[in-house]
Symmetry: C2
Amino acid sequence: MSTPPSERARVKRYHQIAEYDAATIHAILDAMPLCHVGYVFNGSPYVTPTLQWRDGDRIFWHGSSASRMLENAECQEVCVTISLYDGLVMARSAYNYNINHRSVMIFGKPEKLVDAEKETQLRHMVNRTIPGQWERLRPVKPQELKATTVLTMKITEASAKLRSGQPDDDEDADFPVWTGVIPVRYEIGKPEANPKNLPGVEMPAETAFFKIG
Amino acid sequence: MSTPPSERARVKRYHQIAEYDAATIHAILDAMPLCHVGYVFNGSPYVTPTLQWRDGDRIFWHGSSASRMLENAECQEVCVTISLYDGLVMARSAYNYNINHRSVMIFGKPEKLVDAEKETQLRHMVNRTIPGQWERLRPVKPQELKATTVLTMKITEASAKLRSGQPDDDEDADFPVWTGVIPVRYEIGKPEANPKNLPGVEMPAETAFFKIG
């Protein structure tokens, strides 16, 4: 187990499955683009799902410049959480039922990107899902960049939790019930072409390399 | 489109894909047990992933009685968000890239369940994933019930967002790039038996009916 970077980021419950090293945290971010951004507005908590991506030791997310989440998040404390559900752990007792999962919580105050960095990161967001796709697209327009806000934070105050494998309930080893794991995972389906595609346009071969994260 | 139950729950961005009716909201809760609970602690936002389940017009989630999330959530404002990532929408421009998704945000002040209701709901949580499993398990102990907190809220202040299908970018219809959707979804794998199972115990046939949600 590695060392928590702050008291806030220290995992309190099930701390035995906590990790704080960058490699573990980065791998979870790279495995799941969906994140949940928590922020406080008028004293109430809000949790908004959006896409995140990583570049080095920074996390990025984006949305409309008119978004409540993005306007309120800049220079305010946020908590960004990324979670993968990996399976149901069927133990001998309800108390030891569990889920296999990987999750990360990141705390901090995000900053807004300005024009050149914004375009660089939007390009990175597109090209990390389909290599080279940004260059195939209708070029981005200045007003589209203006209408898009990209926020970033350094991944400093962060923690991960990981649980895998069979139930931990040796205290009930003699109880005669089946135990095991039902694994679940995101599967990528066959691409569905838009019926409005122009005649002759082909799906880029790189689409085959699409990854969820 | 249905009517928002409160100003806070009114969807601001992409309001054209917002829904507020119970059937739509319930279906999303039932499709995804993983939820993200947002709460405020010492003025900072926290987003904790946990399992949720529904019974009628109420949502439930549980955890250790020593949990910071659960202790802080009772009688405090929370926002519980449930999200499914359904696919990547490849448009003709980066600006119109999108994700197909279903998500729900629920606002409110949760209440703690007391003993009889707590056991009823824990039983419901176990049996909704594998029918009849609660009755097969080593019976729950009083100290386990005591160590478990179950929170609930009525699903009143809630909104859903749903996006499906092909890109909306007819303004770029003449740009010669392939567009389409890459679908993604959770798949349930083959159950993996615990090597520590007693000889002769069998996997319940009902395991085959396991649903993610």
